[in-house]
């Protein structure tokens, strides 16, 4: 049966909340702000399937998650797309699991290219992977998602400069701009400021789009594709809301890295339609 993007995203958000509740730990807030973008990316955008995926990315589009703490959304989207059994979501953060707290290649989870968790590193890795594609004559695209709070890391701006200098124009970088981080808003904590101006000043083409509206997400990627191969790296700033989809979790930093109680989880489930069948706990 075919599911709409909205139906898939609703199930992914259910998965996220149920996974972190069951594990009694994890990062639901940023996972829920990135849900629609990652759902679109894996179900509509990227030229890769569970069958064609390889870690080296030869002949396929490649995605890197830099903000590794939003592993719940990555794991759910990968499982729902068929990279590994949906039932395995129940093992999130348990001893021996392939679904480590932060993504790891150590246990060979299909769909994961690189460890992430210590922040600021994934953009650099994606640039390297994009350069590898250029050297290999592979016309496919490399995608990477960084957090807005993560963009406080100096390495992000080292990478920003290097990508422009090396004219990495087969890369679509994306920021999940939900304006929240652990200690508060990105403005209160670090004065993150105007990301559009910052990326433009570093020599990037910048696209803004609503990261919770699939028409807007489609437009954002289409705009990005128009700018591939023009000698400049591309950044899509996805305007999102932390904890999106559950009213008491939305728009606050409180749910960055906190699991709901069993009662709160039940309340959240009332707000998120079960569409593809919950994994068993």
């Amino acid at each position: 049966m075919e599911y709409t993007l909205q139906q898939i995203a609703s199930q992914v958000r259910r998965d996220i909340v149920r996974m972190v509740t069951a594990a009694a730990s994890g990062h639901p807030g940023g996972s829920m702000s990135a849900t629609d973008v990652l759902t679109y990316l894996y179900f509509k955008e990227m030229n890769v399937t569970p069958e064609t995926w390889t870690r080296n990315g030869e002949g396929i589009d490649q995605f890197f998650l830099s903000a590794g703490h939003i592993s719940p959304v990555l794991y759910s989207v990968l499982a729902r797309r068929g990279y590994f059994p949906v039932a395995e979501l129940a093992t999130f953060r348990r001893f021996g699991t392939r679904l480590q707290g932060h993504p790891s290649i150590e246990k060979g989870l299909p769909g994961v290219n690189q460890a992430a968790g210590s922040l600021g590193q994934g953009l650099s890795v994606a640039i390297g992977a994009a350069l590898a594609k250029r050297l290999n004559g592979d016309p496919h695209t490399v995608y990477v998602l960084v957090g807005d709070g993560e963009s406080e890391e100096g390495q992000i701006w080292e990478a920003a400069m290097a990508a422009a200098h090396n004219k990495v124009d087969n890369l679509i970088a994306m920021t999940d701009w939900n304006h929240q981080q652990i200690d508060g808003t990105t403005e209160d904590v670090a004065g993150l400021g105007d990301l559009r101006s910052k990326w433009e000043a570093f020599g990037w083409t910048v696209i803004d789009a609503d990261g919770h509206d699939f028409t807007e997400i489609e437009r954002g990627f289409a705009e990005a594709h128009k700018r591939m191969g023009l000698g400049k790296p591309v950044m899509i700033l996805w305007h999102t809301e932390m904890g999106h989809g559950v009213d008491f979790m939305a728009g606050t930093c409180k749910w960055h890295g906190k699991n709901p109680s069993v009662e709160q989880c039940a309340e959240a489930m009332k707000q998120l339609e079960e569409t593809m069948g919950d994994f068993a706990l």
Binding site: E106, G117, S124, G128, A132, L135, N136, A162
Partner: protein, 315 residues
């Protein structure tokens, strides 16, 4: 004792540059990156011959490590080149997560290691990098002793599937190992057989250890002399066998005692055959500006200090 002839002073970093140039011609998968130190790392030949496979990333070492990891995921064999301090302490977390934990095939070329960096002083004289790097799971740590061995180690690093930290230096030092030698990662190199005392050295201290062994020979002391070019994985069998034979071990290295080869060997011997030891290394302090030879003498990293350490074990 076996004769070792200095064929002329050459810097080990030029051995790396020569190895990299050779790899550029023989292996199209080898790429190279530098953080504004192309000339210092002797990467000019590779860069000139393969401009498409050479990336200048600017003074941004953390990003360089990540880019190398991405290139490795895409099937390339990246060598990243910078000073040892910026190739280790500055980017330990990037190496830990993006390289070692992610098992990416990145080769870290760490030049100007140790006190022989000389005049630049302590900010650049890393004396901690062996310790930092050997703590990381998956990492191979190689510290060759002269130009020829550094070139051979560079070629071997490209063949090895996994992260490698290749440590070498700035000044010209005697070039005495064979040209075009095979280099086996993880294998100790026996330079002399003796029964009285074991001297184990790595990097620039190997030549000093040879001079020390010669002098000890004139006093009737036969040295079992080992060049440990691969610090990790350590050739434990060779170390244990020598310690069992002589019953006393000197370890010489251009590094702090903390985290160095001496501590590593002490850990091995403490479990296999507790052995009296002396460390010829720097004890818990920073370096300072000066000429390499002057600093080596001042910080006790020369043949005279190795002789003294050996004699103190035999008294």
């Amino acid at each position: 004792m076996k004769e070792y002839i200095d064929t002329g002073k050459k810097d080990t970093r030029s051995g790396f540059g020569a190895g990299l140039a050779e790899l550029g011609r023989s292996n199209p998968k080898v790429v190279a990156l530098t953080a504004d130190l192309k000339g210092s790392l002797k990467m000019d030949a590779f860069a000139a011959e393969h401009p498409d496979r050479f990336f200048e990333v600017g003074i941004a070492e953390a990003n360089m490590v990540g880019m190398a990891a991405g290139l490795a995921i895409g099937g390339f064999i990246p060598f990243i080149g910078t000073f040892a301090n910026f190739a280790s302490a500055r980017v330990m977390d990037q190496i830990r997560q993006s390289v070692c934990y992610s098992k990416t095939n990145v080769k870290i070329a760490a030049s100007h290691a140790g006190i022989t960096l000389g005049e630049d002083g302590a900010t650049h004289q890393t004396l901690e990098d062996i310790g930092i790097m050997r703590m990381l799971p998956e990492m191979v740590v190689i510290n060759p002793c002269d130009y020829n061995q550094t070139k051979a180690a560079t070629l071997a690093a490209a063949e090895w599937n996994g992260p490698v930290y290749l440590r070498f230096g700035r000044p010209g030092v005697p070039n005495f190992t064979p040209a075009d030698q095979p280099f086996e990662i993880g294998k100790a190199i026996k330079l002399n057989d003796g029964d009285d005392v074991t001297i184990i050295a790595t990097g620039h201290l190997v030549w000093e250890a040879i001079q020390a062994a010669r002098e000890l020979e004139t006093k009737g002391i036969d040295v079992d002399l080992i060049d440990i070019a691969t610090i990790k994985p350590l050739d434990k069998e060779a170390v244990i066998a020598s310690a069992r034979k002589t019953g006393c071990v000197v370890v010489a290295e251009e590094h702090l005692i903390a985290g160095g080869l001496g501590e590593e060997i002490a850990g091995v011997l403490a479990q296999a055959c507790p052995t009296r030891m002396r460390f010829v290394a720097i004890d818990d302090q920073f370096g300072q500006s000066g000429k390499p030879a002057e600093l080596m003498a001042a910080y006790g990293l020369d043949a005279a200090h190795i002789v003294e350490a050996a004699l103190s074990l035999l008294r």
